[in-house]
Amino acid sequence: MAETNIAGEGPGPWAMEARGLGKRYRRGWALRDCSFRLPAGRICGLVGPNGAGKSTLLGTASRQLAPSEGELRVFGVPVDDPAVMPRFAYLGQDKPLFKRFTVAETLRMGGELNPGWDAGAAERIVRSGDVPMHAAVGTLSGGQRTRVAFALAFGKRPDLLLLDEPMSDLDPLARNEMSTLLMAEAVERGTTVVMSSHLLSELEDMCDYLLVLAGGRIRMAGDADALVPAHALVTGVTRDGGLPAALTRHTVIEKRVQGRQFQAMVRRDGPLSGDWQVSEPSLEEVLLAHLRSPDAPALFTPGAQPETEGARTT
C-alpha cells in the first residue's frame, strides 16, 4: 500500500533531516530506512514501543552512534561533522553526571566544554530549584540532579534538544516541574525539542509534532494537528463479520469486531459515508492504534518527508 501524503504547507528550515537512515547492531537492524524531516522550532514527540529504535535514533542524532547507512542532518550539517556538536544537547534516561563534582563545578564543566555557554541561564535554572551550588552532585535528590542536567543542557544554548525519557524516574511533582521548565525554556529560545516518552497524555499536552516508530521504521511523521484529523473512528453494524466494502477503500489501521458491532480506525481517503457512525479520535487513540498495528502503512504530513525521496512503497 502506498503512503498517504496530505497536501498542504511547504518546506521550511529543518532541525532534523534523515534520509534512508539505518543502524544495524550485531543482532539486527534497530533502525531501518528512516526518512523524515523535522521543522525548526517544534516540540516533537518520539513515540513507539520498547525496542522500536527511539533511543537509537536519538543516539545517532547525538553522535553516540554512527549510522550504518543513510544520513542525518541537524540544521543542514551532517551529523558526522563535529561542527554539529554545539547545535544540540542530549539528555538520556540515566542523566549521568560526575558524582564528586559540586553543582558549581558541573556548570563550570559546561562552560569549559561548550563555546556558546550561557552561564547565567544555567545558574538561573539551578537556583530556581533551590539546588545548593556547593553540594556534591552525588548527594542531590533525583529531581535536583535532573534539574542540574537540564541546566547543563540549556546552558549549552542548543538549537536542538534531544531528550531520551529524561523524566521517567521522577515523581509526578518533579516531573511536572521539569516539564514546565522545559516548555518555558524551549519556547523562550525557540529551541526545537525531540523527546521520547511512554506517557501519551504528556505528549498530547506538550508536543505539536510527532514521530512514531515501530520495528525500526517510521510509521507516522508530521504535525500532530494534521495527523489526528486524517483519521476517523468508525463504529457500525457488521453484516458478514467483516468490515463493509465501502470502508476498505480507506486505509484501515485497526479493526475490532464484537458480535454484530465493528469499530475501526481508518485513515480517510476521501469522504466517509455509509450507515455507520464516524467520530474524531483523540491523539492517544490514534497513537495506540498505530502502536498496536505496526504493519499499517506509514503516514507523512507535508514536508515531513524529504523531497528527493519521492514516492516510496513500504
Binding site: 542530549y90 563550570r108 561548550n114
Partner: protein
C-alpha cells in the same frame, strides 16, 4: 563563591588561567589520583635521598673506596624501596590505566562529556595524554633519583646490574615499563568497559608481561664470549658480568657442556678432561658496559608497544559507540 556568582554571573567564563577546557576537566576528575601519585613520588624521592645520605655517611666512616666495607651496607629499607619501585608500573596500570576510560563508561560520564561540544577523540587524547604524562613524570623522577643513588655505589650494593631490582628500576626502563603496562590497562579498560573486570584482567596481564619481560631481559644485547685456560683464575673483567652460559672447550674449539667432566672422583674427572682434550673455559656473558644500550633497547621495545596499544585504543574507541 556563591555571592560572587550572583553578582557577576558571566565572570565564570571569563576567568583567566592556564586550566581550560578538557585539561581542567581531566585534572578535576582525576585530582585525587594526581595528588596520590605526586605525594608518592615526593615521599619516595625523599626516602631515597635519606637512605643515600645514610649510606654515604657509613661509607665515609669506613674509608670506602680505599678500604673494603663489611656487607651488608644497606638494610630492609633498600629492599623495600626496590620492591616498591618494581611494583609501581603494575600499580599504575591497575589503578590508573584500567579505570581511566572504563570508569567513564560504567558511570555514563563518557556520554556526558562527548555530548558536550568536544569530540570523542579529543576527549580520549586529553585523558590518555594526562595519564601518560603523570606516569612518565613520576616514574622518570623516581628512576633518576634511584639511579643517582645506585650508580656510584653499585659495587657495594647487594644487587648486580642485571637483577630486576636494578635493571628495571634505573634509567629509561622504569618509565617505559610503566607506560607500556598503563597503556595496556587503558586498552583493557576500553575493551571491557567495566572497572573491576578491567582491573583484574590488567593485574593478570601485568604478571604475565613481567614474566615475559624477565625472559626477554638478557636477550636485549648480543652476549660476549671469553675463552681462558682451564686452570686459570676467572679474569677480573668477569667480576661484574652477568653470566649467560659457560662451557669447557678442547684446543680445536670443540665445546662441551659445563658439567661434561663432573665425575664422582677427581681422578675420573682428570681422565675425562684428558680424554676429550679439554684445555679452556668458555664464558658467555653480558658486560656491565652493555647495560645502557640494553636498557634503551628494552625501553624502545616497550615504547613501541605503548604506541601500538594507544593507536589501537584511539582507533577502537573512535569507531565504537561509547
Amino acid at each position: 563563591m556563591s555571592t560572587t556568582l550572583t553578582g557577576k554571573p558571566t565572570a565564570r567564563s571569563a576567568r583567566p588561567g592556564l586550566l581550560r577546557g578538557l585539561t581542567w576537566l581531566v585534572l578535576r576528575q582525576h585530582r585525587a589520583a594526581l595528588g596520590c601519585l605526586l605525594a608518592l613520588t615526593v615521599l619516595c624521592s625523599l626516602w631515597i635521598v635519606y637512605q643515600r645520605g645514610q649510606l654515604t655517611e657509613l661509607l665515609d666512616a669506613q674509608g670506602w673506596p680505599e678500604k673494603t666495607v663489611p656487607q651488608p651496607v644497606v638494610g630492609a629499607g633498600y629492599r623495600n624501596l626496590t620492591a616498591l619501585l618494581g611494583l609501581l608500573p603494575g600499580v599504575l596500570a591497575v589503578f590508573l590505566g584500567a579505570p581511566l576510560i572504563s570508569a567513564d563508561h560504567e558511570q555514563g560520564t563518557a556520554q556526558l562529556v562527548t555530548t558536550q561540544s568536544v569530540t570523542r577523540r579529543r576527549w580520549l587524547v586529553a585523558k590518555l595524554g594526562w595519564c601518560f604524562l603523570i606516569t612518565l613524570v613520576a616514574c622518570s623522577v623516581l628512576s633518576a633519583v634511584f639511579t643517582w643513588w645506585w650508580r656510584p655505589h653499585r659495587s657495594v650494593l647487594p644487587d648486580i646490574w642485571m637483577d630486576p631490582s636494578v635493571f628495571d628500576n634505573t634509567g629509561p626502563v622504569l618509565p617505559a615499563l610503566a607506560l607500556f603496562l598503563t597503556a595496556a590497562g587503558v586498552t583493557i579498560g576500553v575493551l571491557l568497559r567495566r572497572v573491576l573486570a578491567s582491573m583484574v584482567v590488567t593485574l593478570v596481564f601485568c604478571v604475565a608481561a613481567q614474566t615475559v619481560w624477565g625472559m626477554v631481559r638478557d636477550r636485549l644485547a648480543t652476549p660476549r664470549t671469553i675463552t681462558y685456560p682451564l686452570d686459570a683464575d676467572v679474569p677480573a673483567r668477569l667480576h661484574d658480568a652477568y653470566e649467560v652460559d659457560r662451557w669447557v672447550a678442547s684446543a680445536d674449539g670443540q665445546l662441551y657442556g659445563w658439567g661434561s667432566c663432573a665425575e664422582a672422583t677427581e681422578q675420573a674427572s682428570r681422565a675425562c678432561v684428558e680424554e676429550k682434550g679439554i684445555v679452556d673455559n668458555v664464558f658467555q656473558y653480558l658486560d656491565p658496559s652493555q647495560m645502557a644500550a640494553m636498557q634503551w633497547t628494552g625501553a624502545g621495545v616497550l615504547l613501541a608497544g605503548t604506541v601500538a596499544l594507544t593507536a589501537f585504543t584511539l582507533w577502537w574507541a573512535s569507531r565504537r559507540p561509547l
